[in-house]
Amino acid sequence: MGGDEIVLLNGWFSPFGARVRIALAEKGVTEYELKEEDLFNKSPLLLERNPVHKKVPVLIHNGKTICESLTIVQYIDEVWKGKSPLLPSDPYQRSVARFWADFVDKKVYDTMKRITRTKGEDQERAKKELLEIFKLLEGELGDKPYFRGDEFGLVDIALVPFYSRFYAVETFGKFSIEAESPKLVAWAQRCMEKESVSNSLPDSKKVYEFVLDVNKKLGIE
């Protein structure tokens, strides 16, 4: 599609923003403006375009605003439908993909946040829950290369950005995700071999520093 004006309001640290970057890359959409947001000092544009949630990512496509990462990813899939479909064509398989993307949305981020922001029993409970979540995801993945099978898709996009948080979560929680969920880590590394993913995910150590910094700003020890 020629003549498209695309702006992505993002945060380099945001796994939700990474989902959008991966989706755009999968569709071969490289011509867009990437605006970096500071969560502690949100731009007027962000507040204007996402007044309801005031969060990144926000996609502005030819002046129209779309918010919420999985909604944006599905929008991208539907607009740039000629290339690399992110969802299967069968309605039942689509419902399965949406279910697991929704599951990732409901569970992963909040549980990881509890590991990096709490201590003692609360932290132990969060660690246990995260490993249970990963066990369920490994069960769904099975022996397939990607969640959908041979093709990279919505669930992979929903989940893989959290891979760059593994180091932070492991360091805070003093445990190894790879030891408990080797299949999932193997899947993440397989995804990282794709340029669309490796170009969109931040460095794990930088994410760890960022989490430390945010905790300090929030007054969390």
């Binding site: 309801v52 779309i66 909604t71």
Partner: protein
Amino acid sequence: MAPSDDVKVLGAPPSPFVNRVQIALNLKSVDYEFLEQKVGFKSELLLKSNPVHKKVPVMIHGGKPICESLIIVQYIDEVWTDGPGILPLDPYDRAMARFWAAYVDDKLWPTLKGIRSAEGEEAKAAALEQVMEAMMLLEDAFVKCGKGKDFFGGDTIGYLDIALGSFLRWLRATEKMGNVKVLDETKTPRLFGWAERFSSNAAVKDVLPEVEKLVEIAKFFAAKAKAQ
């Protein structure tokens, strides 16, 4: 397998999430078997069909389970293509419908509950303020999405109508229990008019539960929570 073969819905009649599925199936004129799950009790079939969340609604089509109300509604829309479309055709309109439906689930439903469980007038007023903020945003969304027509979906009931409309009786129940006004004709006149049209629609009117029943159930769960 013909699309309309063997459709079962596991649900509880008072659940707005279950109602969404029933409304969508009605819109598409699809016959289904309703397997009523007793409120607060999880059958073996439910646990087997939805092992991850263990919740209703679950739709079982040709033996295959689909879970999460809005995902089921999208599935219904994609399988039964003869009837009126539930999601809009345009990708941007679809994104808007999805955004606001998610908003209803994430913000409106929990804040409604906040009114019912608030202890004291101050807490209730604070909860009501949050709900009214959501209602004003949805009034605005109605203008943008509906573009002057009868429903969020335009001329016919669509995805966002189903997402929000399924809560209408719970809204009324909350008003009764909290002695407050949530759907206010003066504050949100468009939503007020839309609510009447939605509730009286043929695909909807026999699905939405009676307000009294919901008040009963809400009181039952509140008492249960206090006892624990």
